[in-house]
Symmetry: C2
Subunit: 408 residues, 2 copies
């Protein structure tokens, strides 16, 4: 029951019905390929005649192709339809404090090439350097003509509409226009998005197998910080000022530990990798400068190391990990109470020790969640693929092909 926005609506024209049905057909083919015209007609509850026309149009548009003829118990054999993806390529980049990853993949997310380099912090040099790498990768992969766009993911606040990076503290960037500059330098359409949201996008658009078509979920990445992407009604929530989903800095305790953001008691300050390590080593976060913290974390050992020690019998390590888990549960409870999603996906180094943390996490969850039903919200560890952020960057380019047409 959506209200029509009378200041921004879309009138239906002669072609609107066709456009809607074509898009539905494309999505059904994508999800059930290989599939025949007749099967498609049945799934759509339209006549085979209509399905045939829709399919022909999708073929003419180059979105699908006819494959082998399938087997049938009796009667004429069906010709299978597939979504064309092997020669529709996408570039994806993930910029982080330490390294910048660049990946070439097809529109379904299948990885074709990957390259890692040190991150360049000067914005102008960054653009120049990245554009050169893009050109080189396209050339060596023989993909110059087939690349449909370039998705970029950064840790920070992004205005997705204008492509400006508003604030990325980890990179030291404020109000930098990367999209247009990268587009000019590479000749490709460029999309920029925040890392947490991109992971959610990857899950929404590229995970039809395991993700099983979730349309209302929250994707949470607990790492150096806490990144969150919210998908409601099959759509990513961005918000008026591009900060929607910032659960990281909600307070658990107004007088709690100091957070890198300057405030006290943020959820992130309780559960980030740094918080977990601090708990183990007895660091006092309030007294360390942000920079030295970054160093400490980079050089010293990591959360996976800590999980390994916990596994090996180091009870102090186990306590630290489980303390973090409880706070994770407390924060998740608020997310559930507030958004009440169909499911929650968890990612980040600490999820490697899921068997160790699940129980204390659920204790924290039950402590604060409002109903028993809500406490049963499925929590899934995003085993997923290796590079959720890169896949998210790819999803930025892949999604428009399959998205629902704007109507009413």
């Amino acid at each position: 029951m959506r209200k029509i926005n009378t200041r921004d609506f879309q009138v239906a024209t002669r072609g609107t019905s066709r456009e809607i049905n074509r898009r539905i057909a494309l999505n059904l083919i994508r999800e059930h390929q290989p599939i025949s015209r007749a099967d498609l007609a049945r799934r759509m509850s339209v006549t085979r005649g209509v399905a045939g026309v829709l399919v022909q149009e999708l073929i003419d548009l180059g979105l699908i192709y006819e494959g082998a003829t399938g087997e049938a118990a009796r009667g004429r054999k069906p010709t299978f339809l597939h979504v064309r993806s092997h020669d529709r390529l996408v570039l994806a980049a993930d910029v982080r404090f330490s390294k910048t990853h660049l990946m070439l993949c097809d529109i379904s997310g299948r990885q074709l090439a990957l390259e890692v380099s040190d991150t360049v912090f000067d914005a102008s040099r960054f653009v120049k350097d990245l554009a050169a790498r893009v050109r080189r990768m396209l050339k060596t992969q023989g993909a110059q003509g087939n690349c449909e766009g370039f998705g970029l993911v950064v840790p920070g606040m992004v205005d997705h509409r204008t492509g400006r990076i508003l604030n990325a503290p980890a990179l030291g960037w404020r109000d930098v226009d990367v999209r247009d500059r990268l587009a000019a330098a590479t000749g490709l359409p460029v999309q920029v998005e925040n890392a947490g949201r991109a992971c959610a996008l990857a899950h929404l658009w590229l995970e039809h197998g395991g993700g099983h078509g979730a349309h209302d979920f929250v994707y949470i990445n607990v790492s150096d910080g806490v990144g969150v992407g919210v998908v409601l009604n099959g759509e990513l929530l961005r918000g008026r000022d591009h900060i929607a989903g910032e659960f990281a800095h909600m307070p658990l305790d107004l007088d709690g530990p100091r957070c890198l953001c300057g405030r006290q008691g943020c959820w992130e300050a309780h559960v980030s990798n740094l918080a977990t390590l601090s708990r183990y080593f007895g660091w006092n976060l309030s007294k360390l400068s942000p920079k030295s913290l970054h160093e400490a974390e980079r050089n010293a050992f990591t959360v996976p190391d800590l999980v390994a020690r916990a596994r090996a019998g180091d009870s102090k390590a186990l306590d630290a990990v489980r303390a973090t888990a409880r706070f994770m549960g407390l924060g998740l409870a608020t997310i559930i109470n507030v958004l009440n999603p169909d499911s929650i996906y968890l990612a980040g180094e600490i999820t490697a020790g899921w068997d160790l943390i699940e129980e204390p996490l659920r204790v924290g969850l039950v402590e604060r969640v409002l109903t028993e039903a809500a406490a049963r919200t499925p929590l899934r560890v995003s085993a997923a693929h290796e590079y959720p952020r890169l896949r998210g960057a790819a999803a930025l380019i892949a999604a428009p092909t399959f998205a629902a047409p704007r109507v009413a």
Copy 2:
């Protein structure tokens, strides 16, 4: 950019385009009445021919009617169109711990009759009693044939789809089917919803004047408890387990004051009327039973009284009110960081003292909100009409007439 749900989609048929455009036309007429066919055509960017057909259909459906002919500087005078609402009536009820309100209004929310009675706590007697009142009111108002439905609003958790009240602690109801029983007893279609959400619905559907067509907002009612309704993309957020929007029990401080829900440090425990009064009187919430608290609040004086004292120069009263305001701001900050809505509407007794509380509220807000832009999220005190909850109940019945058709 919405993903099509391949397990629950709507194929476009021959009539889909017309349905979409008819609904857009209806909404434009509603928002700009009186309006001519020609003007409608211009606003929709369609020819006058199409607009004429759409209008004729809406007239035939009884949704609009032709009114007087308007004035024009030159040329033929337009015939004005209006949404038919004076003889399309709706019943609305608001059940609270103390009283039950029953209102008859038209589909645009104009109040026609109002009746207040003591709340009946036995569910069976409640249904019987309320149905009798409904019949009587329809009779005395001569509205038996024109009533299109009955909207019911309760303080508690509701499954809107099945019409069951899952848990309403204030009324002592658990898993009670009111919808079907009321529908059988009154012969009307019945819709049930939670009070906080209903207020948001009222704002979305019945506030085209002042609300100015907000489509992404949060409506917050700070009263005995804290009720919140979230509207995103012109649609009310309900959630998997019907608890979406439950910001009331997010923690500000895990070791904070005890809340009526049994947990500690909930936002509600910091800002509810009870919390404000406790601050003034020095009550210790942890040591009072929920029941005695209810009594204390009902019999003693109220938050408006406290605001009056603050106005009169009672510095202790002012401190109590302003302390609550700061906590309100801290909670609002999390709401903004998380949902980042276009605007926030505030209601509840304490907003009567808006001039006293705005400053400390904004201090709390700025303390926790992540960006300066987000800190400027418009906060509007819902002066609104007298009965937001009743209007919300009415909106439950009124909305389907104007909602966007489901497509793709």
